[in-house]
Amino acid sequence: MSLILKQVRKSYTEPDGTKLPILNVEHFALDKGEQVVLVGESGGGKTTLLNVISGITQADSGTVQVDGHDLTGMFEAKRDRFRAERIGFVFQTFNLLDAFTALENVMLGMSFAGNNGGKAVARELLQRVGLGHRLNHRPSALSVGEQQRVAVARSLANKPSLLLADEPTANVDVKNQELILKLIRDACSERNVSLLMVTHSQEVAGQFERVEQLGDFNKPGESK
């Protein structure tokens, strides 16, 4: 098992003091190398679920296991390092830091995992996503599609075991959507990386074997 969630609960406290339950997941799991797409209505808690899995957001209760390690029991600093080493991220937009070139953006992710060299690896990854000729461009000089490809390269730089992608193709045209999707899926299968991808697109979801509807396993309204 690459990912196991058990009895995970997360609620936000609204400014007026009332509790707003977002997540209540009894059980959710991903096999090693499995590719799963997550769909669900807007505001349902998909992004929150990804944040809980990566340790960016702490669950109120329950356990989150990645590669057999329980994230909920870790100190924050250890969780951060764990995230750097084992979990890759691709967001919907603005994944990159403007101050850094494409190559540096990839290397930045590596440096937080304690890898201060890695130029060759970063270059190779960018070549893999078809940006070998754009290594020293700043994000502002790249198209949105290219930016997303850099983000894909960066998410794989530390050889993660789990890749979380939050609507990675929502802001690109159809042609780029296909390209990026293929890049992500191929790269994950090559490296046996588990993939959990959020999407609103039926077309994207249709290409996956396993499609999870958040509402099917997340029952925030039930039992406190």
Binding site: T47, T48, N51, S54, I56, T57, E76, A77, D80, R81, F82, R83, A84, E85, F89, F91, F94, N95, L96, L97, D98, A99, F100, E104, M107, L108, G109, S111, F112, A113, N116, R154, N158
Partner: protein, 449 residues
């Protein structure tokens, strides 16, 4: 990439704001370095020439005036003391060297001060371990109408060996009423540059100085003074002077100049303005000073003490005020850096959140912001140090030409070593608040925007 590299790239991203804030620090530091170097130049200018002699003996009066006049050629010459007193003093066993200076005349060209002294003057170090030297082909004083000139005099008047001049009595105020003596002196040596007021001095043989018409004290005045002094000392008054035979003789020097001076004046009528003293050991200096000061004829002052006093009462306070002011300027620059970084923080929430999502710890993003602040402050500081010394470097030739002060642009002051750590402390304080903002960033929230 390490945290400092990451910080550096972020600074570069905001190049204009970054360079402006760093520049404001740099200018503050430039000011500080300039003031420090200026202070040390002024201090050296005043202190170094004062280190050559243990005591200066002159007529009773203001000790500071005696020092300023004798060593720095500032102000009108003080009263004179009898030559006989100098002769007596020279025999004091505590004294290693006693060099008389007779002042009162200047050169007609350039108004440089003429000092009558003995050849031994050039044999004594004018500063510890610094001996006078003459340019090739020159020599020191040996004949009465020999003159040795300082480097600045040679340059300003375009004088060299063989140049001749006539002394002007007193300081020529340009009114044309100053009395030009008839006696003519010949330059026999040009001194190497010393960086002291000696560079502006014209040294003539004391014997020649006394041969100048009017340089002898009238016999009756000299006698009256001697009697008065003897009375104060409780001694027998000296015998009255014998009426002088007018045995003026002609004396052709090697250039064939004709000096129509009169015969040698008796010692009783000679006077000196000051005596420069080198004692045999520092231990005996205060004893000798006390001994001289207890007697009515003269006072002995320590030049170093007088200069230190002048500095501590006046110049040090000015410097302190300037430094306080400049410190405030640098603090204001620090506030500028704070504002610049703090303002950028709201734009950078997402950047910071991305770094955290990539696995950066809270401490790391805090350190990156702190490093930015330190890089700006210290970078500005180093630039300021370089600018400051560069300024001194650029100004050095002009200052040297104008005042003879040799400034070493690479002479670092100890305060400059404190400056960089102090800037790091300032930068840390400045970076603390935005650093904490980065530390506290709510990653999920920032990513959602």
């Amino acid at each position: 990439m390490n945290l400092v590299t990451i910080a550096w790239k972020s600074i570069r991203q905001r190049a204009l704001a970054s360079s402006l804030t760093a520049l404001s620090v740099a200018l503050g530091v430039t000011l500080m370095v300039t003031v420090l170097v200026m202070h040390s130049v002024i201090f050296k200018t005043f202190n170094q020439p004062a280190t050559g002699y243990d005591l200066i003996v002159g007529a009773k009066g203001s000790p500071l005036q005696l020092v300023l006049n004798t060593i720095f050629h500032l102000g009108k010459p003080v009263e004179n003391i009898p030559y006989l007193y100098y002769k007596e003093l020279k025999e004091n066993p505590r004294i290693e060297a006693a060099i008389p200076l007779a002042l009162g005349d200047t050169t007609q060209q350039g108004g440089f001060r003429i000092m009558g002294t003995i050849p031994e003057f050039f044999g004594v170090e004018y500063m510890p371990d610094k001996k006078f030297g003459v340019y090739k082909g020159g020599r020191y004083l040996s004949k009465p109408f020999d003159a040795v000139i300082g480097a600045s005099v040679a340059k300003a008047n375009n004088w060299g060996i063989g140049s001749t001049f006539k002394p002007v009595h007193g300081v020529d105020d340009g009114s044309g009423e100053a009395h030009v003596h008839d006696e003519e002196f010949t330059v026999v040596g040009v001194l190497g540059r010393t960086g002291t007021p000696n560079d502006k001095g014209v040294f003539v043989h004391l014997d020649g100085f006394y041969m100048i018409e009017g340089h002898e004290k009238p016999a009756d005045e000299a006698y009256a003074k001697a009697v008065a002094t003897a009375k104060l000392l409780g001694k027998e008054p000296p015998p009255p002077p014998k009426p002088q035979a007018d045995d003026a003789h002609d004396d052709d020097d090697e250039h064939g100049h004709h000096h129509h001076h009169h015969g040698p004046i008796p010692d009783e009528q000679k006077e000196v303005t000051a005596v420069l003293i080198r004692t045999k050991s520092p231990i005996v200096t205060p004893q000798l000073q006390g001994f001289i000061n207890d007697q009515p004829q003269a006072q002995a002052v320590s030049p170093i003490q007088q200069i230190s006093l002048l500095f501590s009462t006046f110049i040090d306070n000015v410097q302190l005020m300037l430094l306080v002011l400049i410190t405030m300027i640098i603090l204001v620059s620090g506030v500028g850096i704070f504002v610049s970084i703090y303002n950028s923080m709201s734009d950078r929430k997402r950047e910071i959140a991305i770094m955290r999502a990539l696995g950066a710890r809270r401490g790391s993003v805090f350190s990156i912001i702190l490093a930015e602040s330190i890089l700006l402050c210290v970078g500005g500081g180093i630039l300021g140090v370089l600018l400051g010394h560069g300024l001194v470097f650029a100004a050095a030739p002009y200052v040297e030409a104008k005042s003879g002060i040799v400034m070493n642009p690479w002479a670092f002051e100890w305060i400059e070593l404190v400056l960089i750590p102090a800037l790091i402390v300032l930068a840390s304080l400045v970076g603390m608040v935005p650093g904490m903002t980065a530390y506290r960033t709510d990653v999920a929230k920032a990513l959602a925007n």
